[in-house]
């Protein structure tokens, strides 16, 4: 059961996220019409609605945008702690509202795909799951159902992951965040440089082989004979659930540490 405060805060996050999302979508629609128009010499007739609608993959786009919004919790935290709301309620409401928006976004993406005549009324094209695992079960209905479940699960995991990552960065001051981003960038460059040099080393080659096998294992790849489209989806489901649980627990523990910063 949710308390009245939890319901209020969840509603606030839900509406606020939809508002932000709507604002971003308007800019995306404007940009996808504006740039073709400008680069076609300000000629409206050259804009192809068919091409725009064929390339539209609403679900993944919404998932990325929602995760992007979830990365910045600190301003909401400031407002809520000023308004007598605990961190626990803040976390609970944030998770519930973002999950609801994410799931809603994916369902809308699927419906848009089904209604779109230029994608042959199918959402499979925008679903990586359907392309890799969509023929595993004998029944098309079962494959579609599992595909739908996986989309909703994986999007939820990505969103909760974004909430956790955003929470980690919210613990630091703006100045510290800049240093962390610079540090991570430098580390990434050094790592890429190092790995490209280290692949010539037998020991590293061995590690890369093991990493490759591990990746194959968690995506459900069962060998060279496995037909793409008929890979086993069990492992991806397990990995998604475990990652989701870790991110949920992690985000809660991190948000417990939230405090008003001196900046």
């Amino acid at each position: 059961m949710m308390t009245a405060k939890e319901v209020s805060v969840t509603n606030y996050f839900f509406k606020n996220t939809l508002k932000k999302l709507g604002y971003i979508l308007i800019w995306i629609i404007f940009s996808s019409l504006f740039f073709p128009w400008v680069f076609s010499g300000f000629n409206f007739s050259s804009i192809s609605l068919r091409s725009i609608l064929t390339d539209t993959t609403l679900g993944p786009v919404l998932s990325i945008l929602i995760s992007g919004i979830a990365l910045f919790p600190y301003n909401d935290f400031k407002l809520l702690i000023q308004s007598g709301i605990s961190r626990k309620t803040f976390w609970k409401a944030r998770i519930l509202s973002f999950l609801a928006v994410s799931i809603l976004g994916q369902l809308i993406g699927i419906v848009v795909g089904l209604l779109n005549p230029y994608t042959n009324h199918s959402w499979y094209g925008s679903s990586l799951y359907m392309q890799v695992y969509g023929k595993y079960f004998g029944s098309t209905a079962m494959n579609s159902f599992m595909g739908l479940c996986f989309i909703l699960l994986s999007t939820s995991v990505v969103t909760v992951g974004a909430i956790m990552v955003g929470s980690i960065f919210s613990l630091f001051t703006k100045k510290a965040r800049v240093y962390i981003f610079i540090g991570l960038f430098v580390m990434a460059v050094v790592f890429i440089n190092w790995i490209s040099a280290a692949v010539q080393n037998d020991y590293m080659l061995n590690i890369i082989k093991h990493t490759d096998s591990f990746l194959h294992f968690i995506v459900g790849y069962s060998g060279t004979n496995a037909r793409v489209g008929a890979w086993n989806p069990t492992m991806p489901f397990i990995v998604a659930v475990l990652t989701g649980v870790v991110c949920l627990f992690g985000s809660y523990k991190i948000m417990e540490l939230f405090k008003i910063k001196n900046e």
Partner: protein
Amino acid sequence: MGIEVKNIQKKFNKKKILSDVSLELEPGKIYGLLGRNGAGKSTLLSIIANRIFSDSGDVVLDGESVFERDEALGQIYLMSERNLYPEGAKIEKIFKLTELFYGSFDYEYANELADKFGLDVKQKFGKLSTGYRSIFKLIIALTVPARYVFLDEPILGLDANHRELFYRELLDNYVKTQKTFVISTHLIEEITNILEHVFILCHGEVVIDGNVEDIMKKAYLIAGPQKDVADYCRGLNIIGKESLGSIHGNYIYGDLDDNRILPDTVSVERMDLQKLFVNLTNMEEAKK
């Protein structure tokens, strides 16, 4: 009943800000929380409102810890110098958000106060001047349905007229609602008359905790020729000294001995709260 602050300790970067602070806030009183810059007032208020964490100790409301409890936090409102409201939100929108999170909000009273202070509720929070930001937060503080209202530097940036108006509205609100107010400010003279109880913090410790009337009964200025004043004050708690030409003054905090004979050359006057504060905190500074 009320709020109990129990043995709060807090360090920032190994520097002790609050050391074992304990105090009690009873319902329906106006308290003053006084202290010099860096004494730990804002830190203490932020801990009570759950904005930051203490290293040890607890804050209890009606017998239960306020830590991470919505019910208790909903009874507390902290108006501070920090601006935690969204810069892009209009004042009327923030009123609605306050209603949403606190459960109720007196719009009629809020709009009446906004009119009196000349605050445009259609204005965005981020566009307000420092003074009007304070006014806006004061309006929320007076209107919000919290039983314990903490005002940290409430008159920051307010002109004399607005300060007068605020003190009037605060007293009016207090009489009508019987809320508990805790006011932390450096303008001690202006609030002395409205305080019932005062806490003076110095170096993270409560050095005075008492009813204003009782405290002021123990605060004296003994003035006269230096030798006579020194003789009269022997054995008393001298918290400060002052000289003007041949006239010497000793500030005393504590009971005067009735058997002491007061020379004709020496006068005994009452000290005001600000003088008491200045002398006490200076003495504590000197001790450190």
